[in-house]
């Protein structure tokens, strides 16, 4: 690999700095395998698991270490819904938009959250506490309409309960940061 770019030692050091030794080691391991580029998605998974999202610095570092063109790496990362290209908030709000929840007014719940937080689908609130996502079905239709915040389920919600619910998590966020 030392011949792949003129400044490999500094490229490698910079990429390791961004991704950390563990992921750099995994990439090194992949490079010894046949078709190393086929491990791109596995690498993306690990990077997202560690950092919560795939930023341009991460993707560029992956591209350099794996020697896969950056356009290809960001093309793959942007294709899959699972991969996030922006930092996610401390808490992930998943509003169920499945049929049962929808019939029971999930859209009104979502609208209330959007108004309260001033963010849209896929976005993160300015204070970095919440990220809003829609889910297709959480499998708890009996509790419809359902909102999942991280791993906690909140069922049979009404729009006027939303502010108190968000406040509960805001409080948690404040406590953990102090």
């Amino acid at each position: 690999m030392s011949t792949c770019t003129d400044n490999w030692p500094s490229v490698e050091a910079a990429a390791k700095e961004v991704l950390g030794e563990e992921i750099a080691g995994f990439i090194e391991h992949c490079r010894a395998l046949p078709h190393p580029e086929s491990n791109l998605i596995a690498v993306l998974h690990r990077v997202q698991a560690k950092f919560g999202y795939l930023g341009t610095a991460h993707l560029d570092a992956i591209a350099q270490l794996m020697q896969i063109p950056a356009a290809k790496v960001s093309g793959v990362a942007s294709f899959y819904h699972f991969f996030r290209l922006k930092p996610r908030g401390k808490f992930m709000i998943n509003v169920c938009l499945g049929t049962a929840c929808y019939v029971k007014g999930a859209d009104r719940i979502a609208q209330k959250i959007i108004e309260e937080l001033g963010i849209s689908w896929g976005e993160t609130s300015k204070d970095g506490v919440f990220t809003l996502e829609g889910a297709r079905c959480l499998g708890t239709c009996g509790l419809a309409p359902v909102v999942m915040i991280d791993q906690e389920i909140h069922g049979q919600l009404t729009p006027d309960q939303v502010p108190a619910l968000l406040e509960k998590y805001l409080k948690k966020a404040r406590e953990s940061s102090t």
């Binding site: 770019t5 400044n7 063109p69 093309g75």
Partner: protein, 588 residues
């Protein structure tokens, strides 16, 4: 001996045919004279099977198959035409149109758009669906290449040409489904990407999702401004291709008509980039000789192609010392116009408006490089137009190009040797260099003028040429994937080359990103089309008395009265430059 390929028998539209194993339905049909409609397919690129326009019926299959990407099998029975299959193709094209702006009349590609032609040919005469359309802003960051993703049909040709022919891998499809967009890494702007501005994406795009940055506005303004002395120079390969824009067959030299058309447009002086090429040769041959004598970095690599220089800076910066320090012919001529010519004619450089007509969109970028600005910060080259833009201007002005009387370039910067003409094709700079170097090295008149071994290079060639006591190991590459082979060889140090010519675009400038879109039925990048354009240049060269750059009297005059000698401090100051490693660093 090559292994004999297995033969496959099949039937296409009731005609029996035998083809090699591995042939696709589309290729087999072509052998029978059946041209299955297609859009994303290009014979020089990998198969995508993205557009589904080439669907056919195959007996026994309960769905339609894409002819471009399905290999034939024994006993296959294909039907390329039936009411159902024609309906399916029409529907496919109609659905493509439904997510496409309806602005054909004001589109850059109007009349030369493959989607438009296809829609007509498939019989789309009405639009049945009114759906949501994708919306993306036009991306204007680059001096050279404009990206208009609303016009993109996601055929992926640009992605493939960028990766496979140019080895740049700057483009990729991002996102998915309705929101898919072709973009550089991280949805970045072209200017902030590994793009080398060669413009091959423009050439292969079937619509106008990629176009050149428009440059005609300031030229029209200058032409209408009596205080401006408006000068134009035309690159060698323009004369070989401009006729195509007016219905002349590819490969028709149109130097005379082109010059007259430029005069009628109102240009005060019509100069020839070929003189810049002659000057490049003289400086480059001198540089080569110095490097041979002083053990300078060898091989020396030509630096005329701005797309190649961008590639060098982003992908192989460690080889920058190998690039000739000579400015490109365009820049040399622009510099001379605003120094030597300005002095001689008593016109202030700030009143000269220098227009360059180039086969290239990377030249638009090159003209704005800080290395190529005058000491006061104004550019030496004020505007760069592509061949396509000049064709449009001539049409706009109402000039009947085909019947124009022949004109001649203006002295002194319009006098050029045949060696300058052949700069426009792959191997041309090498041949011109060899013509000059042989005299310079041996001190005797060259015993030969034509170096057929470096002509008509399809991609990549290396050879030895005996010059005096030197046996020069030379190589020519066009298309940057081919150039990579050479660059990696240089880096490995196993082989020692002396001179290398690299052109970014396939076929050299005749295949540049600013050349006319080929006529219907001729595919872009077609080697035959490029050869025909090249043969026009060789015909012009062969028909000239003056075929060596050194013998050009205008060059002699410029040196004796202005520059001094090749490689003199003044020549170095005005005609040479240096390059720097750039970011983002591309992945090879």
């Amino acid at each position: 001996m090559a292994k004999r390929k297995k033969k496959i028998n099949l039937t296409i539209d009731d005609s029996k045919i035998q083809v090699n194993e591995g042939t696709t339905i589309l290729e087999a049909a072509e052998q029978l004279g059946i041209r299955i409609p297609r859009l994303c397919y290009h014979p020089d690129l990998s198969l995508a099977g993205a557009c589904r326009v080439c669907v056919v019926e195959v007996k026994g299959m309960n769905y339609y198959l894409a002819a471009c990407s399905t290999p034939v099998w024994e006993g296959m029975e294909v039907r390329t035409n039936s009411p159902e299959i024609r309906q399916a193709r029409r529907d496919i094209v109609e659905l493509l149109l439904d997510n496409h702006p309806m602005d054909c009349q004001t589109c850059e590609r109007d009349g030369r758009c493959e989607l438009q032609n296809l829609a007509y040919a498939m019989g789309v005469r009405a639009r049945h669906f009114e759906g949501r359309r994708k919306r993306f802003p036009i991306e204007l960051s680059s001096h050279a290449v404009v990206r208009d993703s609303e016009k993109c049909v996601l055929c992926g040709r640009c992605v493939r040409v960028c990766a496979e022919i140019q080895g740049v891998h700057n483009l990729s499809q991002h996102g998915r489904g309705f929101h898919t967009i072709v973009a550089p890494a991280h949805f970045a702007d072209m200017d902030d990407s590994a793009c080398i501005q060669c413009g091959q994406c423009i050439n292969v795009c079937p619509t106008a999702a990629f176009t050149e940055k428009r440059g005609a506005g300031p030229v029209w303004e200058a032409l209408a401004d009596p205080s401006k002395h408006v000068v134009v120079q035309t690159a060698p390969s323009i004369r070989a291709a401009i006729g195509e824009g007016f219905g002349l067959p590819p490969g028709t030299p149109a130097t005379g008509q082109m010059i007259t058309a430029l005069r009628r447009l109102g240009f005060d002086r019509v100069f020839d980039t070929d003189l810049g090429a002659d000057l490049t040769i003289v400086e480059e041959a001198h540089e080569l000789l110095t490097r041979l004598e002083d053990d300078g970095p060898l091989p020396m690599i030509t630096s005329c192609s701005p797309g190649w220089i961008n590639f060098l800076e982003k992908f192989y910066p460690e080889l920058i010392p190998h690039a000739s320090t000579c400015r490109s012919p365009m820049m040399m001529l622009s510099v001379l116009t605003k120094t030597y010519y300005a002095e001689r004619s008593g016109i202030e450089p700030k009143n000269i408006f220098m227009t360059a007509v180039m086969p290239c969109v990377a030249k638009k970028y090159e003209a704005r490089r800080p290395e190529h600005l005058m000491p006061d910060g104004a550019p030496y080259t004020d505007a760069v137009l592509t061949t396509r833009e000049l064709i449009w201007m001539i049409k706009c002005y109402g000039i009947d190009f085909v019947d124009l009387p022949a004109g001649e370039f203006d002295a002194p910067l319009g006098i050029a040797s045949g060696a300058g003409d052949i700069f426009g094709t792959t191997g041309g700079v090498m041949e011109a260099t060899l013509r000059a170097a042989s005299e310079l090295i041996t001190g005797k008149p060259a015993d030969r003028l034509e170096y057929l071994e470096v002509r008509a290079v399809e991609g990549y060639r290396e050879t030895y040429v005996a010059v005096g006591e030197h046996n020069l190991h030379v190589a020519v590459a066009n298309g940057l994937t081919n150039a990579k082979i050479l660059l990696d060889k240089i880096k490995s140090g196993k082989e020692r080359f002396h001179v290398i010519e690299i052109m970014a675009c396939p076929g050299g400038c005749v295949g540049g990103g600013g050349q006319p879109y080929p006529p219907e039925g001729v595919k872009v990048l077609d080697p035959d089309l490029l050869r025909r354009r090249a043969s026009a240049l060789y015909a012009i060269d062969g028909g000239k008395q003056l075929r060596k750059s050194y013998e050009n009297p205008a060059i002699e005059e410029i040196y004796s009265s202005f520059l001094g000698s090749p490689g003199s401090p003044k020549a170095v100051e005005l005609l040479h430059t240096h390059y720097q490693a750039k970011l983002p660093r591309g992945i090879r």
